[in-house]
Symmetry: C2
Subunit: 336 residues, 2 copies
DNA sequence: CCTTGGCGTGACAGCGCTGTCAATTTGCCG
DNA sequence: CGGCAAATTGACAGCGCTGTCACGCCAAGG
């Protein structure tokens, strides 16, 4: 039979309740007692039974991560970060793919919560911004952390300064002499799309350049959208086309480069291309992509830690800003 | 307060134990009773409390998926499949990244099992083939399903006929007139590497072509390894270099195409390139990659279903063969 | 010196479910 | 219709832990 809390208590010469207190880092245990219990736990290699703890304390020690995001690179990074945080506090993590548009989206999550009873959720874009869901979570008093939500106020989690990052990217292109810079916009439901577009526009304005609606092309973060957008851009009459394309993420940038090949354009000689996110694909295409590096894993970790802090009653948790960096690679060059 | 099993029992006019029986699909409940209970459950929107079930029955209703694989595309697919199967049977899934080479690898899993007590595991390559781990799992009597393990005997899970797939790919290249075909080998620890190499060699033999050691280049499934391998291949003197490169996976094939760009070679005009796995990158590079499509998600689902079957005492579970298909795209053409 | 109050600890009763085993009912046969 | 085995149902005692509350102790204040 496995070691139970009761066994530890007997070995340490204290009551089960005291062992429980030590296990849960509760106050009001004298230091020597605490040490004695800790020693007994270690000596007996005691592993608390999570289900029993859950049943008795009405907590699950479980965090659920919800996503509706086609970018598996992004997701595994976030997931790894959340997992690190969970391990640190002996929580488990479960993951759940969803489809925001689908009927019964909120009900599906509701059922998930009833079934698995996670103590908290980690939301990723665009789930972070589903009003119906957020309201339901408030009603049910389910705590959650958000990664890069549109509305940061009153929410805990992690984000980067996206408009600033986009401006930085634009500054780089402008410094290379580009004046006709196109932007391939991300999925309309994502905050990232708005912010990156805003940064793009602001950079143009700051440089004293006029916005050209023809150079702002809709997309949805997918490779295919990048291809489609680029086809339109590269079909523009000479003089009205771009010398540089800033895609709102790497996948679309890869699509743009793909389409450049199709149109017989050489990157970066004929046209510069840059992306955003620094997913592995940025280094796996030719030429390697100039992009903004986003510390996804770190952001997952931070968000989960904030959530865990607030779950364990260690402060209210915060919305933490993470740093980004610009990765200058071979897909950008001076304007010809 | 939430609805408990006892409440359902009262509503249905039976004992709690009978409701429990219905909940667990046990035998020896008369059909009308079963229906009565089912109706009460539905009417009251009863959700069993997993922790209570776990505590009382000593099962966790949890499957853990273990991986040590850098390909996030592959992983999220498998993960999605496993999750589908888990949902079907109201199990939860947890995921755990690991590093096979690291010290304490087996102990780490041991601790994971003690802590979370999963009812079973789903293993992915190369964890499927770690002798120390498998022995430990047998000792602890932990059930597991494997995806594409080297040793299929006595194991449940899913696989595809890899040598046959590799042969099929080679047949395609041979039919295009290629005679000097290189192979970039996968990570030595993976069964897939052996099988794909074996299929490559067998196809050569069947075509009456001699093996050329210079054309079998070591790799490790990473993009970088593809680049390195291709640099060696493309530096071979004229006449000794390949007219086609069959990389053991898509990432390396992408690396080969990348290196081709570097060497001023045009794909597929100067050299044909093909991969294996059909991950998203196969369509996101230019030219799009001819490759073998592997139904990863389906394989994850099948493996998990086999595991669940055997966990729930519904038969012993089996090692199931899944179908593959050859995707002919733009990276291959007739030999020049 | 006696309160008062807070700290440290333990006794006890469940949390919501299932295993065990006994009680009851049913079906079937002679 | 009685008798017996099998099928069906229920009573009860936990699973391993924590919430609640009661108790004993000691320092500080009057």
């Amino acid at each position: 039979m496995r070691v139970r809390l009761e066994d530890v208590a007997r070995a340490a010469g204290v009551s089960p309740k005291t062992v429980s207190r030590v296990l849960n880092d509760e106050a009001n245990v004298r230091a020597p007692t605490r040490e004695k219990v800790r020693a007994a736990m270690a000596a007996m290699d005691y592993r608390p039974h999570q289900s029993a703890r859950s049943l008795a304390s009405n907590r699950s020690f479980l965090i659920a991560m919800l996503y509706d995001n086609p970018s598996s690179n992004y997701l595994t990074e976030i997931q790894a970060g959340v997992l690190e945080a969970c391990d640190l506090h002996h929580y488990s993590m479960m993951v759940r793919p969803l489809h925001v548009g689908e009927g019964g989206f909120v009900e599906r999550i509701d059922r998930l919560i009833s079934h698995h009873r996670p103590d908290g959720l980690v939301l990723t874009p665009p789930i972070t911004d589903h009003p119906g869901l957020l309201q339901r979570l408030h009603e049910r008093r389910v705590l959650y952390a958000s990664i890069s939500p549109i509305e940061r106020k009153g929410t805990i989690g992690a984000f980067i300064d996206e408009p600033e990052a986009a401006r930085r990217m634009m500054a780089t292109l402008l410094a290379l002499g580009h004046r006709r810079i196109a932007h391939v916009i991300g999925h309309p439901g994502h905050g990232a799309s708005q912010w990156r577009l805003a940064g793009y526009r602001q950079a143009l304005a700051e440089a004293g350049l006029a916005r050209d609606p023809e150079l702002e092309v809709a997309g949805d973060f997918s490779f295919g959208a990048g291809v489609a957008a680029a086809r339109r851009l590269f079909s523009l009459p000479r003089g009205r086309g771009p010398t540089a394309v800033f895609a709102a993420n790497d996948d679309m940038a890869a699509g743009v480069i793909w389409a450049a090949g199709e149109h017989g354009l050489s990157v970066p000689r004929d046209v510069s291309v840059c992306g955003f996110d620094d997913t592995p694909i940025a280094r796996q295409i030719w030429p390697a992509l100039t992009t903004i590096h986003q510390p996804s894993r770190e952001m997952g970790r931070i968000a989960a830690l904030q959530l865990l802090d607030s779950l364990r009653g260690r402060g209210p948790g915060a919305m933490v800003q993470a740093p980004f960096s610009l990765e200058l690679r071979e897909s950008t060059a001076a304007a010809s």
